[in-house]
């Protein structure tokens, strides 16, 4: 499976249904930053991924009406939120948008139940009570109902914030890194409950994150935003695993990025040989639409590099290289090894593996890199 060129899908080209969120906006800021986003999000969870400063929160604020774009169109459900061509600009309270902020913004003076009931003032009291009880039950926080936000746990607060945003039946849900403070298990339980809820409601959910793990773990689709622009759109795998853009690559966790020259093409095998820089470090990588002597940029994840203390034999992997350990540092439960093999490479291993191989700085080591672990980032 060679790397495929996935064309960036642009919102205007997609057939949209009435349930989709459609966004095509421009907004310029005094400092020179311009948000220029064009996409559509269908029902389900779309991860909005990008570094801080990429314009993710500005984008959400424009959808919610908390900031005003210079021009463009925003529509969700059967409402046009904003349309500069007709001058339409629906005020925030009238937009059917649920928004869970990074800080959650639960009202500190109200109980969890009153927080959830906040958006239901127009409903008769009986129905209001029923809706609040129902959604607290759905999100497993019925017991927190009489308590204030300061008196419940972090995970419960997230659940109450979700319930508050969803109880008013919005046609779009915006989540601004709401779960970033939670551990993985709590996070995935909450997302499971959100998914279950959305099976019936079936609305587009835009989930802002800068974490690659969250994009893979939580998203049905992903949009990659860089410097205010949509660079890639597709499945999390399309956007992140074989990134066409170097910026996406760095965010996607490529610890090793090299410039290399193509020295040989092996078309029948679907591979090519690249020389990294001017070193004696050669790698066999998947064939791209490329010519001999072209310069390419390669990305290799530190976790995709296998280490061996003796020269391994009988492997399918095409790249078996000799090197020396330059340094070893422990980061949480990962050992980060810097390896000198003509160029410097970063490899990750577990502390147990380090001990059983008896690795110390200066140790001779063999590196094993699968052809398909070498990602072509740029032609």
């Amino acid at each position: 499976m060679a790397i495929q060129v996935t064309p960036t899908i642009v919102g205007a080209d997609i057939e949209t249904t009435r349930r989709d969120l459609r966004v095509r906006i421009r907004k310029s800021f005094a400092g020179g930053f311009t948000l220029d986003a064009d996409f559509a999000a269908s029902p389900g969870i779309t991860m909005l991924f990008g570094a801080s400063g990429a314009g993710k929160t500005t984008l959400l604020d424009c959808i919610a009406g908390l900031q005003r774009p210079d021009s463009g169109l925003i529509a969700g459900g059967d409402q046009v939120f904003f349309d500069s061509s007709t001058g339409a600009d629906l005020p925030t309270p009238l937009r059917r948008v649920g928004y869970v902020f990074q800080t959650l913004a639960l009202f500190p003076h109200l109980s969890a139940a009153d927080n959830v009931a906040y958006g239901l003032v127009r409903k008769p009291p009986n129905e209001r009570r029923r809706l609040v009880a129902e959604i607290l039950e759905r999100f497993r926080v019925s017991l927190t109902a009489p308590r204030r936000p300061s008196e419940i746990s972090g995970g419960e607060r997230q659940r109450v914030a979700l319930a508050r945003a969803l109880v008013v039946a919005p046609s779009v849900l915006l989540l601004d890194e709401p779960l970033s403070a939670l551990d993985a298990a709590t996070k995935s339980h909450i997302m499971d409950d959100l998914r279950a809820w959305n099976e019936a409601a079936s609305i587009p959910i835009l989930y802002v994150t800068h974490s690659r793990e969250e994009v893979f773990a939580l998203g049905d689709r992903a949009i990659f935003l860089q410097q205010g622009k949509v660079l890639a759109e597709g499945t999390p795998h399309q956007v992140l695993a074989a990134p066409q853009q170097e910026a996406a690559a760095q965010l996607a966790g490529f610890e090793n990025i090299f410039d290399a020259n193509v020295v040989a093409l092996h078309e029948s095998q679907g591979t090519m040989t690249c020389q990294v820089g001017n070193s004696g470090f050669y790698l066999e990588v998947p064939l791209g639409r490329i010519h001999k002597a072209d310069r390419v940029r390669l990305g290799i994840r530190a976790g995709d590099i296998l280490l061996a203390s003796k020269k391994p034999e009988g492997l399918s992997a095409r790249n078996v290289l000799e090197g020396t350990i330059a340094s070893l540092t422990r980061r949480d439960v990962t050992m980060v090894a810097e390896i000198d093999c003509g160029v410097r490479l970063i490899a990750h291993l577990t502390p147990g593996a380090q001990q059983s191989l008896g690795l110390t700085p200066g140790s001779k080591i063999w590196l094993v890199i699968k052809t398909y672990s070498c990602h072509l980032l740029r032609r």
Binding site: A64, G65, L66, P91, T92, P93, L94, R95, V97, G98, Y99, F101, T103, A105, L106, F107, P108, H109, Y118, G119, V121, R122, R148, P149, S150, R164, A165, V168
Partner: protein, 224 residues
């Protein structure tokens, strides 16, 4: 002790702090949330009584109350008497004099409300008015109480403005601070001391009650 002066003073302070609460809330709201470029001019005007000597404020009020001014003439044609040296005139003077003491703590507590809470309120369908009543005001309770207490206390203790525009008419404009000044002037030290002590105790009891009751308001904040 001059009971008449004491009740007059309390009546004046209650009226003034009640009116200031009604007037101060919208002014504080406007000062906090307006994006107008000339906002700072209004802020400066509201804060003027803090720096001006009471005699300067009193002087301008006397001029405004007099028959030379449009306000003075209008009031006179309506009621048949001038505002100067009346209880109504004293109320108006005290309102202006104590305005910053009501507006500033209220505005400060409005500004301390997390803007994300206001955004959240909007996304939940609440407009400006509902957001004010359901989020801003409940979370600003300590500031609103402080504003009311400070304007009450400041009115009880004012002297210069009262002397300028109210004079010293028993039962109408002779407040307790004027009364104490009077007693000292006539070497009536024992009585002055008694009145002063009564004022001191009254103020202490009111402030303790308010701050004691107000302590609970902070429980509204999350313990982060």
């Amino acid at each position: 002790m001059n009971l008449q002066a004491l009740t007059l003073t309390i009546k004046l302070a209650v009226i003034v702090s009640a009116v200031l609460l009604l007037v101060g809330l919208p002014i504080a709201y406007w000062v906090t949330f307006s994006r107008l470029r000339w906002k700072f001019l209004v802020e400066a005007v509201v804060a003027l009584p803090l720096v001006l000597p009471p005699t300067v404020l009193g002087y301008y009020l006397l001029v405004a109350f007099g028959s030379q001014s449009a306000l003075g003439r209008a009031y006179q044609s309506l009621t048949g008497h001038t505002l100067a040296f009346t209880f109504e005139g004293l109320v108006i003077g005290s309102l202006l004099y104590s305005l910053p003491f009501a507006v500033q703590p209220i505005a400060a507590s409005f500004a301390a409300v997390d803007p994300k809470l206001l955004a959240a309120s909007q996304t939940l369908g609440a407009g400006g008015w509902k957001t004010f009543w359901r989020v801003i005001l409940p979370l600003s309770r300590p500031g609103v109480v402080t504003g009311a207490v400070l304007s009450f206390a400041h009115t009880v203790g004012e002297f210069g403005v009262v002397l300028m525009i109210g004079g010293n008419i028993p039962g109408i404009t002779r407040t307790i601070s004027i009364d104490i000044y009077d007693q000292v002037q006539s070497a009536n030290y024992a009585q002055a001391g008694q009145t002063a002590l009564a004022l001191l105790l009254f103020s202490f009891v009111v402030l303790s009650l308010v701050y004691g009751l107000n302590r609970r308001a902070w429980a509204a904040w999350p313990s982060k």
